[in-house]
Amino acid sequence: MSTDNIDQLRSELLNAVSQAKDASALEEVRITALGKKGRITDLMKGLGAMAPDERKAFGQQLNVLKDEIAAALDARKQSFDSAALDARLASEKLDVTLPIRPGTKGSLHPITQTMDEVAAIFGQMGFEIADGPDIEDDFHNFTALNFPPGHPAREMHDTFFLPPAEDGQRYLLRTHTSPVQIRTMMSQKPPIRVIIPGRTYRCDYDMTHTPMFHQVELLVIDTETNMSHLRGCLQEFVRTYFGVDDLTTRFRPSFFPFTEPSAEMDIGCSRKGGELKIGNYGDWLEILGCGMVHPNVLKACGLDPNVYQGFAAGMGIERIAMLKYGIPDLRTFFESDLRWLRHYGFAALDIPTVTGGLTR
């Protein structure tokens, strides 16, 4: 075998590589050249019979040839692969404007979100959360809260009653969250700082009243908290809740059987053009009732009113939610209309915190 023959073979094989029409033709060329019985393989096999010097020289040439042909095969194969990929890609089409597979987006009710916001704010001030039963007795709902006997609020038109019980008690649905004040003071020693969110019930159903609604109650009892703290605490609350840093508040004398002195708090607002805006615009909006816990209430809970004092406040959850989020109708809170739940609801991960932002 001479060098010429090798050159001859090289040009033959390179030609065959370049002439191969497709991947399978190329594979045949590879087998012809480098397969078990291929021409280069055959020549390699013949090396053993050669004289050492000749073998070395010829072997080197064969190796060069083998590498060269292998490289040519590889290059040719890659070009076929890339053409095949191009062809495949040209045939693979997805209409990417197709709608995606739907995920389901849930929501939280505005009452839940508002309660969480309220809890986040008062939590910063060290208030814990207390709760109590929806079904109450006369003592916790009225008597201990200094409602004189015969008070109109005890009567049928306000309070939902259960049928007379066998123990002679006349149980009722709590008309406010205040009975939990009593339960807290009777089970816990001062200092006390709690908020009490929950369902409340009154026998009233019209544009602005529903037979069930939610309140949140505040109770602070210690030996020093006075009306100035009440005002400070509530002012901080409304400013944080409504996100108006300098929101002005107005304190007015009022009356509740279970507080003395009693007050109502207004916040600044505007009603221009029939649209309600919270802020310092000169008009006032009533937002909550509050006061210093009445001495008779403290006494009913076994606390000496000459030693212990503190404040209580209460507000409607739906009301403050409506004000903040511009929800027009109270009754819609309880209709479970999916459109409403999705529109006014909140995302699962929209967890209110004072430091992370109460509202997205």
Partner: protein
């Protein structure tokens, strides 16, 4: 409570503007509800003069008036019967908005004759509810002047009176409060005794026995004879009309007036219609009384009536009776000024559903010394307006003891009220309000005036001082608190919060439904519970407390379906009621899904919801609450409102944590909603609380570096064998190498034979410390097959 500005100024000498008065009322606790200024909107109306009024040529009932305004002469067609020559009238010219209709007046033609304006009635100006003709202005009214300068237009102030403010039931009390708050001076009141010209022939007889005497402790009477009972003078009628009262006759109007003016209700009887002595007694069983409002009331012996020797004359402190009432022909009056027990008045008023001004006053509490003073003031007014002469007073009972002393330390204003105010100023405020202040230093003795029955303890005195000084002067001090907020939620509160947000993350919409539902629906969901109904439901479809959250959610799904939204996924976290006593309620997380799992989609993902969707929701709740799924068993025995074959329980040991499934078709039918609907209820109160660990550190992760191997097995078992029991057998077969197992196929059909099914599971094997060999895999496989055979009777499918 309503009053007019001029009425207030009858008692208060002040230069303050309406706005200042309004602001001060609110700041002292007499919250202004509304102020209606009748002059508002009347600027364009002017005084005009009817130079000539003659018959309209084409209409019998119309008049054609030539009207002069001072600058022009207009022709106006008018339908009022009192439009006559020479009258001074209120004229609206074209372009003026008429208050009663809100329409802008246009020049027009009435029955063929041009009308260049309109002569107005009081109703058209919204100065009265109705009127008979056009307003007749005084003859000296200047022509062309705005009518607001000529008509007595008195702003009406309405305040929201809190039930404790018995002192402000009358206009005078309101004036007193304003004066105390520095807005003027309280004018003196003439309430001295009117000397009797004769002895009253009619006496008082107190017929309340023993303990009932306190229901009417005092009754003062007086005979006034030779009176006339004409219409009231204009000023009196105007004041009553302005606050919405209807003038009747002078005698009646005087008592109406004093009720509002002083918070002192009185009653005037026609003496000719009385028989014998007059005074309070209890009503007789089934006694009836024709009251002044035209209705007849059936009374009971818990009620107090004013009676003579023969019959009940009126419902004490609430309303007089028709037969004994004064009329135009009345010539002798017997005047009543009495005191009544507020609770008894409230109870009677409620029972009879009478809302009168007298009841309003007495049920809050009338000044105990006003019985006599009120009688004197009323007498003076009657003599002034109706003439006649008065007897001396006749008495029954006595003024109840009202004087009491409150020990007061002025430092309390700061310690409770949070306001720094010099003691001298505190004292001055109390004295301006009529309190007597004695003592000194930190030991004051304070006596409230008779009209302040609401003031009981030192806290009330603090309130009085703060109120008059102004609550807005109380500084705002933040609550002292720790520099870093502490955790305030309990573990359970965090658990519930996490459950809610996890369910929303699952794609469910949270809702809030009533705690109530219709009895008929409650009965479908009682199980072992007793029905809890309300004694006074607001309506028949909200007459029971819910024993389950499901019916309200199902009804919500039904309402949404009616609006075209058939696919609902709702949840609610709230109470279910297990009894009718405090504490007999438990917290439930409930979910409900209806219709399809997804909207129609090109990739065909939608399928009807099924019980396993509800199971997934229940498991999501339990997972969010930190309950390990490994610790749960699925069992049969869901309550009867679920489909018996497509429902189950999730239990931890013997404790049922949740129920889930498709709702029973009969229940859906009774609720009138279309299925399929699936639901779950998780008992949040029964969940184990997350354990309080020493710290937040997790257990160390031990992840293997060796290759995991998957093997599949298909077992043929009896149809009754549950997937969970088979999987438990597989998972329990090897604790060492088996890291995961799952079910990937369920087959029932001819290939496995009648009554059998094939369950195919995959298992994942992985060693923590070596590459798995064929032998090891084979050994585990054998254990798995053996375990399934032992506990489920399963064999490998051929």
């Amino acid at each position: 409570m309503k009053f007019t500005l001029s009425w207030l100024k009858e008692h208060l000498d002040t230069a303050a503007t309406l706005d200042e008065i309004s602001a001060k009322l609110t700041s002292t606790g007499l919250e202004v509800e509304s102020i209606s200024n009748p002059a508002a909107g009347l600027d364009a109306f002017i005084v005009a003069h009817i130079a000539e009024a003659k018959q309209h040529p084409n209409a019998d009932r119309l008049r054609l008036c030539t009207v002069e305004t001072g600058t022009e002469t207009l022709q106006v067609v008018c339908g009022a019967p009192n439009a006559r020559t020479g009258l001074k009238v209120v004229l609206a010219r074209p372009g003026t908005t008429i208050p009663s209709t809100g329409d802008v007046l246009k020049k027009g033609s009435i029955r063929g004759v041009e009308s260049q304006g309109m002569l107005c009635s009081a109703a058209e100006l919204k100065l009265a509810q109705e009127s008979d003709g056009i307003i007749e202005l005084p003859t000296d009214a200047p022509i062309g002047a705005p009518v607001t300068q000529v008509l007595a237009l008195d702003p009406v102030i309405e305040i929201n009176l809190t039930p404790n403010r018995v002192d402000a039931l009358g206009v005078r009390g309101i004036a007193r409060d304003l004066a105390a708050a520095g807005l003027g001076k309280l004018k003196p009141m003439k309430d001295s005794a009117v000397p009797g010209k004769f002895e009253s022939p009619r006496k008082v007889k107190m017929r309340l026995e023993g303990g009932d005497a306190k229901l009417c402790p005092q009754f003062v009477g007086r005979t006034i004879r030779a009176v006339k009972n004409p219409e009231s003078p204009k000023w009196l009628k105007d004041r009553l009309t302005a606050i919405g009262l209807r003038p009747v006759s002078a005698l009646v109007d005087i008592t109406q007036y004093l009720t509002i003016d002083l918070g002192r209700p009185l009653h005037a009887f026609d003496d000719a219609k009385l028989s014998g002595d007059v005074g309070p007694r209890l009503a007789l069983p089934s006694e009836t009384l024709a009251a002044l409002n035209g209705k007849t009331y059936r009374l009971d012996p818990a009620m107090v009536v004013i009676a003579d020797d023969k019959a009940a004359l009126g419902i004490g402190g609430i309303m007089g009776g028709e037969p004994s009432s004064v009329s135009e022909s009345t010539t002798t009056v017997f005047l009543e000024s009495a005191l009544f027990d507020s609770l008894n008045i409230a109870a009677t008023g409620r029972k009879l559903t009478i809302n009168s001004d007298a009841r309003y006053c007495f049920e809050r509490g009338v000044d105990p010394v006003s019985a006599e003073a009120g009688a004197e003031i009323a007498t003076r007014m009657i003599l002034d307006i109706c003439g006649g002469e008065a007897s001396s007073l006749v008495h029954g009972g006595d003024t109840p003891e009202w004087k009491r002393t409150i020990a007061f330390n002025p430092a309390r204003v700061k310690s409770l009220g949070g306001l720094d105010l010099p003691p001298a100023e505190c004292k001055a405020i109390l004295e301006r309000l009529g309190f007597t202040v004695g003592g000194s230093g930190d030991a004051w003795q304070v006596t409230p005036p008779s009209w302040r029955a609401d003031v009981e303890g030192w806290q009330d005195l603090v309130e009085e001082i703060l109120r008059i000084h102004g609550y807005d002067n109380i500084p705002a001090t933040p609550l002292p608190r720790a520099p870093m907020p502490k955790v305030v939620l309990t573990a359970q509160q965090r658990q519930v919060a996490f459950v809610r947000r996890s369910l929303a993350a699952q794609g469910l919409n949270e809702t809030t439904t009533w705690s109530f539902l219709p009895k008929a629906q409650a009965e479908l969901f009682l199980g072992d519970l007793a029905l809890v109904s309300l004694a006074n439901p607001i309506s028949s479809d909200l007459d029971a407390l819910r024993p389950s959250l499901i019916p309200n959610l199902a009804a919500a799904a039904g309402r949404n379906a009616a609006r075209g939204m058939n696919d609902c996924s709702l949840f609610e976290v709230g109470p279910r009621f297990e009894g009718s006593k405090p504490g007999q309620q438990v917290m439930i997380a409930a979910t409900l899904r209806s219709g399809q799992t997804a909207p129609r989609h090109w990739a065909g993902l939608a399928r009807p919801v099924d019980a396993l969707d509800a199971k997934a929701d229940a498991l999501a709740v339990l997972d969010a609450a930190g309950v390990s799924a490994q610790s749960l068993q699925t069992a049969l025995g869901a309550p009867g409102w679920y489909h018996p074959g497509r429902s189950g329980l999730l239990k931890q040991g013997n404790q049922i944590l949740a129920a889930f499934g498709e709702l029973h078709p009969a229940v859906l039918k009774a609720l009138d909603v279309k299925g399929p609907i699936v639901a779950c209820e998780v008992f949040l109160d029964r969940l184990p609380q997350p354990k309080r660990k020493a710290g937040a550190a997790r257990t160390l992760l031990k992840a293997s570096n060796f290759q995991p191997v998957d093997r599949d097995f298909a077992f043929v078992v009896e149809s009754s064998v549950t997937a969970e029991s088979l999987l438990r057998a597989v998972r329990g077969a090897d604790k060492d190498l088996l890291t995961d197992a799952g079910l990937f196929d369920v087959y029932e059909g001819p290939h496995v034979g009648e009554g059998k099914k094939s369950l195919a599971v995959y298992v994942t094997l992985q060693s923590k410390d070596a590459t798995l060999t064929d032998e090891m895999i084979e050994a585990v496989s054998k254990k798995i097959v053996a375990a399934v055979e032992k506990s489920c009777g399963g064999r490998l499918r051929a």
